[in-house]
Amino acid sequence: MSYFRITLLRSAIGLPRRTTDVLKALGLKKRMATVFHPVSSSAAGQIMKVKELVEVKEVENYMSQHEVWLERKPDPGYYVEKTVAQERGESLQQ
């Protein structure tokens, strides 16, 4: 089953009340929010109501909000070779 990955790019401020209601029904509360909906004609109808405001992709898998957030997380610029606990374990073995 595939999903619609919907991202709100433009806000509905100043647009008719129904537009805001459709966004709310899709679960889009603020700009750059991303939601996943199974591909269905009802979801498609909802997207068509707000097509000027959103970006849509068809994806195979559902992603949790945390996974979406991890996608946007910048590279920290370092990686952890060894944790303090590992180092202590090694020193105790010697």
């Binding site: 433009r10 509905a12 100043g14 591909v39 004609s41 498609a44 068509m48 097509k51 405001l53 849509v56």
Partner: protein, 107 residues
């Protein structure tokens, strides 16, 4: 020297240019293409699942794509009160977030 201009006489004067600038037109085309892309994605996804929606069918039947549109329809819209029956699309309220693609035939 006093130079009588509209803004000195009237105080606050807001002027909206009568036509779009070329970057505004470029952004307008970009937005039109973005909407086309959304509709195409939705339609392709539904077709793959063997479904369809009235809204998508109606869009394809009634609305031209960005590349099919005349420049006249991209940047202006019909207005009966104008001498040339056309005014800049930027006079349309919320024009960057509404789909205004077709105009009365002959105008």
């Amino acid at each position: 020297m006093f130079k009588p201009t509209q803004s000195l006489f009237g105080g606050l004067l807001w002027k909206t240019p009568w036509r779009l600038s070329s970057p505004q037109k470029a952004r307008q085309r970009k937005r039109l293409r973005a909407v086309d892309r959304v509709v195409d994605t939705v339609s392709a996804a539904l077709a793959r699942n063997g479904q369809n929606t009235k809204a998508v069918e109606r869009w394809y039947k009634e609305m031209p794509r960005e590349e099919e549109m005349l420049p006249k329809d991209k940047y202006t819209l019909f207005d009966k009160k104008e001498k040339s029956y056309r005014k800049g699309i930027h006079k349309l309220p919320k024009w960057t977030r509404v789909s205004q693609r077709v105009n009365p035939p002959g105008f």
